[in-house]
């Protein structure tokens, strides 16, 4: 086989895995039966790739850090509060924001499947959906945090939120020191995905990212 042939075969997907073949077969069947338009599937994927992601959650957190009235309404009714922000308004119902304080750290899991605030954080990472996190987060949260390199004072209360219904949880991390006078855009850049799940902290000003 020449090198060209080899590439050609890859381009033709002639070496598809069993899973890929099965996915293609199912899509063919659903299309042939008139259940779905494949262009609509393309559009769903594109929407996930472009419209959702942790930048939405980061804007909410940065706003809460900057605006005490917004923070109060976020903690009281996160769905309603987020709906007032035009650019990230389409979260739908059942969002709850939980605040980290010096005395209490919040952490979110779904032990039964993979419930996650998609609209705020995007699609969940593999570790969030996998057995090690789902099994241990409720029994040994400090051990799980150690896997992320996160250590909390011994006396800090840890509250683990198991997402067993349609409520979705967003952790409001503590605002980093040294950010006085920062605007929302600057603050949003410090907010990491993991800090909004509760398995990390926001970035520290000046630290290498």
């Amino acid at each position: 086989m020449t090198e060209h042939d080899h590439h050609h075969h890859h381009d033709d997907h002639s070496e598809l895995s069993e899973t890929e073949l099965r996915v293609r077969a199912l899509e063919t069947i659903l299309t042939e039966k008139g259940y779905v338009d494949p262009a609509a599937l393309d559009a769903i994927i594109q929407a996930y790739e472009t419209k959702i992601g942790p930048h939405n959650g980061a804007q909410v957190v940065a706003k809460a850090w900057s605006d005490p009235a917004f923070k109060r309404s976020l903690l009281e009714d996160a769905t309603k509060a987020v709906a007032t922000l035009g650019h990230v308004s389409r979260v739908g119902d059942h969002l709850v924001a939980v605040e980290n304080t010096p005395g209490r750290h919040n952490m979110v899991v779904c032990t039964l499947c993979s419930c996650y605030p998609w609209e705020m954080l995007g699609l969940p990472p593999v570790w969030y959906k996998a057995a090690p996190y789902r099994s241990r987060a409720v029994k040994d949260p400090r051990g799980v945090l150690a896997d992320f390199g996160v250590s909390l004072p011994r006396e800090t209360e840890i509250r683990v939120w198991d997402s067993t219904a349609e409520t979705r949880f967003l952790v409001l991390p503590m605002r980093p020191e040294g950010t006085d006078g920062w605007d929302e855009q600057q603050l949003a850049e410090l907010v990491t995905r993991d800090s909004m799940i509760g398995t990390g902290f926001p970035k520290t000003p000046g630290a290498p990212s």
Binding site: L21, E157, E166
Partner: protein, 219 residues
């Protein structure tokens, strides 16, 4: 069901390994599976609880050995076959061979995409007053339905405190089995780590679940 999906408190799965700069999809087919599940659900072939139940019902060894989107694919195939939208012979052939079954909301087209990007509403009108209020001590029932439930095993039989009334909501246990929305009150219930994991557990840990009223009894 007491399935392997109900993982809270299990040991032996090892460390949490986060992948740096993880891509949204690790292969193109993962996106296709996600899109097919969302599209067929929005077209009315099934509700979210039924799709969860079909993933839980995969054989335990398959569940544990399959990647996340592989589980979604296998669950979707089984569900669509069981509900008569596709035939097992079609899956084997890779082509349609039977007439289509009408979908409740019709064919899923590009006009429907925006709809699936907005989260559904699960709140419903209350059929009866709430039985519990914040501050009440409640016990998670010792119940083991062989069908879908959202009461994790690690809480069953244990006592916690109602923290918040989340309103009345579609009941997954019946919705998953296509036995109706059967709205129920939903509460955040908080348990001490030591109540769930014994006196040697970390005393600073508290765990909460969102529990539907039929999962709870006064304690």
């Amino acid at each position: 069901m007491n399935g392997v999906h109900d993982m809270g408190g299990m040991d032996g799965f090892g460390k949490v390994e986060a992948e740096p700069n993880e891509p949204m999809f690790h292969a193109k087919w993962e996106g296709r599976v996600l899109a097919m599940v969302r599209a067929m659900g929005a077209a009315g072939a099934f509700n979210i609880d039924t799709s969860r139940f079909y993933r839980e019902a995969l054989p335990p060894a398959v569940y544990l050995a399959s990647s996340y989107y592989r589980k979604w694919l296998l669950g979707l195939e089984d569900l669509l076959v069981d509900k008569g939208y596709i035939a097992a012979s079609e899956v084997a052939a890779g082509h349609a061979k039977e007439p289509a079954k009408p979908l409740k909301h019709g064919k899923f087209t590009t006009d429907d995409v925006e709809r699936v990007m907005v989260r559904g509403k699960f709140g419903r009108k209350a059929p009866a007053p709430a039985r519990f209020k914040p501050g009440d001590r409640v016990r998670a029932k010792n119940m083991h339905p062989a069908t879908h439930t959202r009461l994790p095993r690690y809480t069953r039989g244990h006592v916690g405190v109602v923290e918040r009334n989340l309103g009345c909501s579609v009941f997954p246990d019946t919705a998953a089995m296509e036995a109706g929305e059967n709205p129920q009150w939903l509460y955040t219930v908080v348990f001490d780590g030591t109540e769930l994991w014994g006196p040697d557990a970390d005393p600073t840990v508290k765990i909460s679940i969102d529990a539907f009223e039929p999962y709870l009894e006064p304690a």
